[in-house]
Symmetry: C2
Subunit: 198 residues, 2 copies
Amino acid sequence: MTIVAAGITTSLDGYVAGPNDGPGCGLGERGERLHYWVFGGPWTYDADPSGEATGADKQFLDEGIARCGAIIGGRGTYEAAGAWGGTNPFGVPFFILTHRPEDEPEGAGFTFVSDLDEGMARAKEAAGDKTAMVMGGADVIRQALKAGYVDELSISIAPVVLGGGKRLFDGFEEDVTLENVSVLQSPFATHMTFRVVK
Amino acid sequence: MTIVAAGITTSLDGYVAGPNDGPGCGLGERGERLHYWVFGGPWTYDADPSGEATGADKQFLDEGIARCGAIIGGRGTYEAAGAWGGTNPFGVPFFILTHRPEDEPEGAGFTFVSDLDEGMARAKEAAGDKTAMVMGGADVIRQALKAGYVDELSISIAPVVLGGGKRLFDGFEEDVTLENVSVLQSPFATHMTFRVVK
């Protein structure tokens, strides 16, 4: 049975990106702080971050990578990440949800799918005994959570109040009961993992 | 130097109360789950909760009580709590922010104040070397945070997505940098404490 795990980073006030996110500004204005934990400390959009996660952040990342059998993400996240330089860097099947599947680049390791149900089915099949990871953006996580696909939800809270941007739970009106599974904290984030009670 | 610490419980989607909160329904519809951690497990509005915090929840509460020298809270919270049965139960000076200070009940241990600055000054003076606690509601915490009074912020996240109600950070547009101080987790909550960087 494949487990579906969704994970994303937010500010303490629930934003997955500051204002005006987009290519070259993937986490929005002043949003770099959301991902300090990913790169082991401060970085800015002005230069490619070169650091690596350490301590509890590395533990959280490594545990996720070790169990990951496939990934599903949204087109906006794909574009904001600059298509990770043009090639799927994760070493597992990567499905991109998009309204324009005909845009799929050849031989880059990304599979474009136009439908959440199809994407989830293919990601679960590809993951097999491992975990199918829903990486975001926020809208993909909301859709997957609402449709009942998500078994585990991880929220990494960066120690910042952004005061604006895109909220993870904007427009989400479902009641979802969770169970605390674990928490890890570094100077840069608090990683909370929940089981979704169905 | 008096430390000012604000603390409140939210759902994972940032609500301090579900829909239609008020007297007899202090945490809104389906909001009882926010305070399972306070009472050691499930309770409902139908009966007065009688349980007590245990484990990490008790540790978090006890540490807060031990350092608390004064409390400041909002009138809405006071009313929603039924004025704690009519008498200040906390054993320290308790200042209630309200537009109608003339409503202050005599001899009940509550001091009604009409102004945030006056309330904070009096709470800090009363707390002395101990901590002045800002207990909420959400609007009082937002005001105190925006005005720069808050040195420490504790958010207890209950493992539930409410999908509606009152959000802690609704309408809050400030950028606030925090530092992770500590995290404690029980089955009923994840208690995160941050230092506010000024």
